[in-house]
């Protein structure tokens, strides 16, 4: 009885989380251009997606801004974390506090303050200002992934490598970097996700003549979103689904290996 109740609860929450996604997927196969009325099944929005230059341009901007800002945010976070290792507790607390400001601040305040800064410095709002703003908002998330790993890192291996005659750069590349790879990958992925899904900060820092996916959707909302957009997001979601499934599979395989290893050790 209790178990049924728990499963029912999980099911209800999952339904709540996926209901709008199912609506969007259904929308992408709807022959009608307008949401809310179903006039039959069609593949045409998937076919037209490639020809819709506005959406492709917005998609390209989202992708390039996301990748560039994620790389730069991850690099800056890594360098900063390495520097913070040598700091006292106070300096570390101060740096961490400041780094967390964009994370704790409201998006709308961050967006407006960056817009005022860019205009105050005489910059023209456009691609570059979006890029800068996205580094600002993803940096705290990148630090969150990298900093704990860097701070808990042991100096012994690095120094051993140096004693064995490895030049500092080689020692860093071969000893420290591999240890930090999980954090770096996580930082990159999280930064990219932040950048790709951000709307509010982009909206205030973008200027005229450039759109990302989110601002393009917002602009279309008043007149009705292009169904090609539903097709694109359905494709993207399926991609994420496949990735997650592979991750699950990988996890299971790794666990089976580990369990097998443990049994061997025990035997």
């Amino acid at each position: 009885m209790m178990e049924k109740l728990k499963n029912g609860y999980l099911g209800a929450i999952v339904l709540f989380l996926y209901a709008p996604i199912l609506v969007l997927i259904a929308q992408s196969f709807n022959a009608s251009r307008y949401r809310g009325q179903w006039t039959g099944f069609t593949w045409q929005w998937y076919e037209r997606l490639i020809e819709n230059e506005e959406i492709i341009a917005a998609f390209t901007n989202t992708l390039t801004i996301g990748v560039t800002s994620a790389i730069l945010a991850t690099l800056l976070a890594l360098v900063t974390a390495l520097g913070m290792r040598q700091m006292g507790l106070r300096g570390r607390m101060l740096f961490r506090g400041i780094a967390n400001v964009p994370l704790l601040n409201a998006d709308i305040v961050t967006g407006i303050s960056l817009m005022l800064l860019f205009l105050g410095l005489g910059l023209r709002l456009g691609y570059d200002t979006i890029l800068l703003a996205h580094i600002v908002i993803s940096l705290p998330y990148a630090m969150l992934c990298i900093l704990p790993q860097v701070l808990s890192m042991d100096d012994v291996c690095y120094e051993a490598a140096r004693d064995l005659g490895a030049p500092p750069v080689t020692a860093f590349r071969k000893v420290i970097l591999p240890e930090l790879v999980p954090g770096i990958v996580a930082a990159f992925l999280l930064s990219f996700a932040m950048s790709a899904d951000d709307f509010i900060v982009t909206y205030f820092t973008k200027g005229a003549g450039i759109e990302t996916l989110t601002t393009e959707i917002y602009a279309e909302l008043k007149l009705g979103v292009h169904p090609e957009m539903y097709a694109l997001s359905t494709l993207f979601f399926c991609g994420v689904l496949v990735f997650a499934a592979l991750l699950m599979l990988n996890y299971k395989v790794i666990r089976r290996y580990r369990e097998a290893g443990r049994e061997e050790e025990a035997a």
């Binding site: 996604i21 704790l104 989110t214 991750l247």
Partner: protein, 281 residues
């Protein structure tokens, strides 16, 4: 010689220097720009007029409504997330990862699009009303009301509650719960006296993470409130993009910052409380 310098540099605090510059330029300075704009008039002279305009009743009303809706959404998120995290904790090993991925996947769908999909679900001839009509029940009026905005906020911000709460609940040692059971506590008493106090840091950090975006959103209220329910975020957005009264918009942002600072203090307070407890044990 060169190598020794490189070695020194590779582990030196100078490495944090770029970030210090970055922080001053892109984190601290922008906030001063907001303060400056909020405290000056169009000619750049110092004035408190914007602040006093903000304290007019219509803006205060919007602020009050925003706080109310954000508090209700935060509370509902907590109410939904707590049992969820307890169930997830039980299934940690078996199907834990699968369930967890199931909750993270929706985050990858564009949040503007999912919010818009809620329009399709909640509108007059939407899915909910179609379902109710099918059952022969009277239709409900949801779209363009505060309830619709709250549903949208809960949908969008629930993961922010689940993640910190799950971390804090899954860290609770099973033996403590068993001890409570052995001492004769029933489920409710265990929840009230053991689980709730131990998960308090998670509750606070989840609540602060939901409250701020819920307080400041303008997208959800614009889409699901149909611009009939005005929140602070909507007013700020309009001042910047339609009315071009940047001074007033900045002054309103400054009021929001007060809430953000209160939020940070609340979290810092419970955080240090936890460390104090750890130090004693």
């Amino acid at each position: 010689m060169n190598e020794r310098i490189a070695a020194k540099l590779a582990t030196h605090r100078f490495l944090a220097l770029p970030f210090a510059l970055w922080a001053v330029l892109f984190i601290v300075l922008p906030l001063f720009f907001v303060l400056f704009t909020g405290l000056t008039n169009g000619a750049g002279n110092f004035t408190l007029e914007n602040i006093s305009t903000v304290l007019q009743s219509e803006y205060l009303k919007a602020l009050g409504l925003s706080v109310e809706l954000a508090l209700v959404s935060t509370f509902i998120c907590l109410l939904l997330a707590y049992p969820l995290c307890l169930i997830l904790r039980e299934r940690k090993e078996s199907r834990g990862l699968l369930v967890f991925l199931l909750f993270l996947l929706p985050l990858w769908m564009n949040s503007l699009l999912t919010t818009m999909a809620w329009q399709t679900i909640m509108e007059k001839h939407g899915l909910i009303n179609m379902f109710l009509a099918y059952l022969g029940l009277p239709e409900v009026h949801l779209i363009n009301t505060s309830a619709a905005i709250i549903i949208g906020m809960v949908y969008n911000f629930l993961p922010y509650m689940v993640l910190p709460l799950y971390v804090s609940i899954s860290r609770i040692d099973e033996s403590i719960i068993e001890a409570a059971r052995d001492l004769g506590a029933n489920s409710w008493q265990t929840l009230r006296h053991v689980l709730l106090p131990l998960s308090l840091p998670g509750i606070v950090s989840g609540s602060t993470m939901v409250f701020i975006p819920a307080l400041t959103t303008f997208v959800i209220s614009a889409l699901l409130g149909g611009n009939k329910v005005l929140l602070v975020g909507n007013i700020i957005e309009q001042e910047f993009t339609a009315a071009y009264d940047w001074q007033l918009g900045s002054a309103l942002s400054m009021v929001l910052m007060v809430f953000i600072i209160l939020n940070i203090l609340l979290e810092a307070f419970t955080d240090s409380g936890e460390q104090g407890k750890k130090g004693r044990s």
